[in-house]
Amino acid sequence: MSERTLMGGNIAIGEGALLAGCQAYFGYPITPQNDLLELMARRMPELGRVFLQTESELAAINMVYGAAAVGFRAMTSTSSPGFSLQQEGISYMAGAEMPAVIVNIMRAGPGLGNIGGAQGDYMQCTRGGGHGDYYLITLTPSTVQEMMDLTMLAFELADKYRNPVLVIADGFLGQAMEPVIIREKVKKLPEKKWALTGAKGRPKNLVNSFEMNPIDHPRRIKLLLEKFERMRVHEVRYEGLNLDDADIVLVAYGSAARSAITAMNMARKNKLRVGLVRPITVFPFPYQPLADLAERGCKFVVAEMSGGQMIEDVRMAVGNQNEIKLANSYGGVPLEADTIFEAIDILM
């Protein structure tokens, strides 16, 4: 039987990375994800793998770029202000098609903001974040178990698509502890023929994001765009709860989704037909399931810990006919189930 243990969210990400065969971790401390960095500082050298506390988040992401280029499973973790600093490097990696896992345990912004958990980086995470035409598969765990599982999946998807993959969670979930079933270790890592391993006996490989020739560059971008389209077709993930008879559909991810489940249960107790769509990927976003529910005449409550960012994707999915209400918190404070329930009540 698999081992069951009480574990913190950040720790579960680190353990998931170790199980997935992460060979190199680079990071710079920032609250609320420091226990992840501390875990990697201890565990990576024990396993004979690379841990480096860098001089900045910029250095960390560029070292991840380098480690990915030589074929390592590489990762970094940070929180919102550090994630902003890494955008240049992430854009370069997307341009150079480098697989890696980037973890953003979000805190309240803008600027230095506050160390309380938040979901205010939604737009930055789902729209590329840096310059140029690119997207990152963005996974949104809402339990500590998913922190582990989706980190493991992130490594797999990064290699599958040769693209950086994001795992994002609010700082509350990062620091929360829950029961976790420890997963099986990944036994065999994929071969990477494109990696820079020394060109002895084979044609040289090239890793860069630069194309001097104006004829070649659009061709290269077209390939990237086709790749992002494949992600949209194949990688949409979400959980639906109580949708069969729902009049009102809650849409929430991360710890806001946890509060939404409680609000949904409160509503059901009051004989209100409320369901939940919980995106597990926010890029690609589950537009179609929401569009189908809109077609059926559902109303929507978007519950998020930001000024209202995911609500724009929900609006895009459902069009202009259906009513959408925002239930939110911001500035580093929790989104309580009561707030979501009030929004349900107003819509009824």
Binding site: L6, N114, I115, G116, F172, L173, Q175, A176, M177, E178, P179, S255, R258, S259, A260, I261, T262, A263, M264, N265, P334, L335, E336, A337, D338
Partner: protein, 176 residues
């Protein structure tokens, strides 16, 4: 069976630790459990809360607004928790720091001089465990033996601390 517990006080009072003991006891019983620390930048001396959910069903919110059990370790915690404890719930008040009384009649309120009681055991740092004892004696969240089992696991390397903590737990159980 579902318990929502909020413990609140100053950083340094052991708020997170007693939350952790409860969470581990719930986890050991095979129940779904969440433990969430909630504090701002400063730790020692700043405001600190701990949310613990224990349930035999899938737990939704990791945040707690209306606890079944509240533990108010300082005056600010009293102000925050006293109005929010669910009807029929329990409020444990640390009278070493909280000088006000609750005027609610729909909840059980237990007043515990945690520091004075701990001093009687020779170490005022176990005031938090005294408060936890009062929780266990007055609400069916978990049992004394379950908490002692967790203490045995956590403090196995420090026999002196282990015995002190066990004694504090039993002393806390005397308050009702």
């Amino acid at each position: 069976m579902s318990w929502e517990i909020t413990i609140s006080g100053f950083g340094g009072q052991g708020v997170l630790f007693i939350g952790r003991l409860l969470a581990d006891a719930g986890f050991n019983a095979g129940l779904d459990t969440t433990w969430l620390p909630y504090y701002s930048g400063e730790k020692r001396g700043g405001m600190c809360s701990c949310f613990v959910n224990i349930s035999d069903e899938r737990i939704g919110s990791i945040f707690i607004t209306h606890p079944d059990v509240g533990v108010a370790m300082n005056p600010a915690a009293m102000k925050m928790l006293e109005p929010t404890v669910k009807t029929g719930g329990l409020l444990v008040v640390n009278t070493s720091l909280v000088k006000t009384k609750s005027d609610r009649h729909d909840i059980k309120v237990v007043y515990v001089p945690t520091v004075e009681a701990a001093k009687e055991l020779g170490d005022e740092s176990v005031g938090n465990i005294i408060a936890l004892g009062a929780v266990i004696a007055n609400a069916q969240v978990t049992s004394t033996s379950s908490i002692i089992k967790v203490l045995n696991q956590m403090l196995s390397k420090d026999k002196k601390q282990l015995e002190l903590n066990k004694a504090a737990l039993l002393k806390g159980c005397e308050y009702s």
